[in-house]
C-alpha cells in the first residue's frame, strides 16, 4: 500500500483510533460499532485523490462529534428522568 501523502495517512489512522476509543461505550456494544467502523473505513481505502481523503477525514470528525453529542444527550436525558422530574 503506497500512500499519497504520509501526513494524511497519519491523520486517517488517528481519527480511526479516536473513533474506536469512543466506540467502547456505544449503546449497541463495542463489537457492533467496531465492525461497522472498520467497514466504513475499508470502503474508502481506494481513495487516492487528496481532496477526497480530506473530505473523508472531515466526515469522520463530524461523526465523532455526533457520537459525543449522542453520549451526552443519552446521559442527560437519563439523569433528568431520574432527578429532575418529580
Amino acid at each position: 500500500m503506497t500512500s499519497t501523502n504520509p501526513a494524511l495517512r497519519h491523520q486517517v489512522i488517528r481519527i480511526y483510533k479516536d473513533l474506536l476509543y469512543l466506540g467502547r461505550e456505544y449503546p449497541q456494544g463495542y463489537d457492533f460499532f467496531r465492525t461497522r467502523l472498520h467497514r466504513a473505513f475499508a470502503s474508502q481505502k481506494n481513495l487516492t485523490d487528496e481532496k477526497k481523503i480530506r473530505k473523508g477525514i472531515e466526515r469522520a470528525e463530524f461523526v465523532k462529534k455526533e457520537i459525543e453529542a449522542l453520549y451526552y444527550l443519552k446521559r442527560y436525558r437519563t439523569l433528568r428522568q431520574r432527578y429532575d422530574k418529580s
Binding site: Y21, Y72, T78, L79, Y83
Partner: protein, 257 residues
C-alpha cells in the same frame, strides 16, 4: 486577588447506565466487575472549572480530588483530561461497602485538603448517583464556615464575588457571595466535554499525588450503620379490562370508586 484556586472533588461511581444489583447479604450494592465512571454531577463541576478558565476568569489552578479505591485514579485521569491541572488521590480500601467514607467523613477530609491547597473555591456535584446523599457540599461549607450556593445552574465570577443562579420552583434565584465559597452543580449547568483519547494520554503526564487517610488529621470513621439494602419491589403489571362495566368493577375492587 491573585486568582481562583479551585478544588473539584470527584467520585467514582457505578456507571449511570448500569442497573445496580444488591449483594446476597443485603449489605451493599454489588460493585465487583461492574462498569464504573465519574459521577455525572462531578463531571459538571470539572467542566465548570475549566470553563471559568476559558472565559478568562483568573484561575490559578484546578485541582481534582478523589477518595476511593485504587481505581479512582482512572477517574482522576479523566478529570485531568477534561482540564484539571493535577490530581490528589486518597486511597481507601473498600470491601463490600465497608470502609467507605460517608458524607461527613468526606467533608472533614475535604476541609483538610482545602486548608492544605489554599483553595478558595470548591465546586462539587450536588449529589452522587450511587448513594444520593447530597450532603457533602453543605457539610463542607458548614465546617469551613464559607458561603455556599447549591445546585447552581449558572456561575459568574466578578472580581472576588460570585453570582450563582439556581433553578427553584417556578423560576430562578440569583445569589451573590464573596469568595471563598462552595458551589454544588445542578444538571443544567453546562455540557461536559468528552475526555478524548489524546487528552487522556496527555493527562497521564500530569502530576497525581497519592495519599492515605493517615496523611490527614482527624477522625473519618463512619458514624452511620447500614442496616439493610434491598431492591425496590418489582412493578406490578397492569391488566386489560373487557368493557366499561369491567373497568368500573375493577375500580371498585381497588377502592377508587
Amino acid at each position: 486577588m491573585s486568582g481562583l484556586r479551585i478544588l473539584v472533588p470527584v467520585k467514582r461511581v457505578i456507571d449511570y447506565a448500569v442497573k445496580p444489583r444488591v449483594n446476597r447479604a443485603q449489605t451493599a450494592v454489588e460493585t465487583a466487575n461492574v462498569k464504573h465512571s465519574m459521577n455525572p454531577f462531578d463531571e459538571l463541576s470539572i467542566e465548570e472549572a475549566v470553563r471559568l478558565r476559558e472565559r478568562k476568569v483568573p484561575v490559578e489552578e484546578i485541582v481534582a480530588f478523589s477518595a476511593g479505591p485504587p481505581k479512582a485514579q482512572d477517574i482522576l485521569r479523566t478529570a485531568m483530561a477534561m482540564g484539571a491541572d493535577r490530581g490528589i488521590h486518597v486511597q481507601i480500601d473498600e470491601k463490600e461497602g465497608k470502609g467507605e467514607l460517608e458524607p461527613l467523613g468526606v467533608a472533614k477530609l475535604l476541609k483538610r485538603v482545602v486548608e492544605k491547597e489554599k483553595s478558595n473555591l470548591v465546586i462539587l456535584g450536588k449529589q452522587s448517583i450511587d448513594d444520593d446523599a447530597g450532603q457533602t457540599g453543605q457539610m463542607l461549607a458548614a465546617l469551613l464556615n464559607w458561603s455556599q450556593a447549591t445546585q447552581a445552574s449558572k456561575v459568574q465570577v466578578e472580581g472576588d464575588s460570585v453570582i450563582v443562579t439556581r433553578e427553584v420552583d417556578g423560576g430562578v434565584e440569583t445569589l451573590k457571595a464573596k469568595l471563598p465559597m462552595i458551589i454544588t452543580t445542578d444538571l443544567r449547568l453546562n455540557e461536559p466535554r468528552y475526555a478524548s483519547l489524546p487528552n487522556i494520554m496527555k493527562a497521564k503526564k500530569k502530576p497525581l499525588d497519592k495519599k492515605t487517610l493517615k496523611d490527614f488529621e482527624g477522625d473519618f470513621s463512619a458514624r452511620l450503620k447500614t442496616v439493610k439494602v434491598t431492591e425496590p419491589p418489582p412493578r406490578k403489571g397492569g391488566i386489560k379490562v373487557e368493557d366499561v362495566d369491567g373497568m368500573i368493577s375493577k375500580l371498585k375492587e381497588l377502592g377508587a370508586l
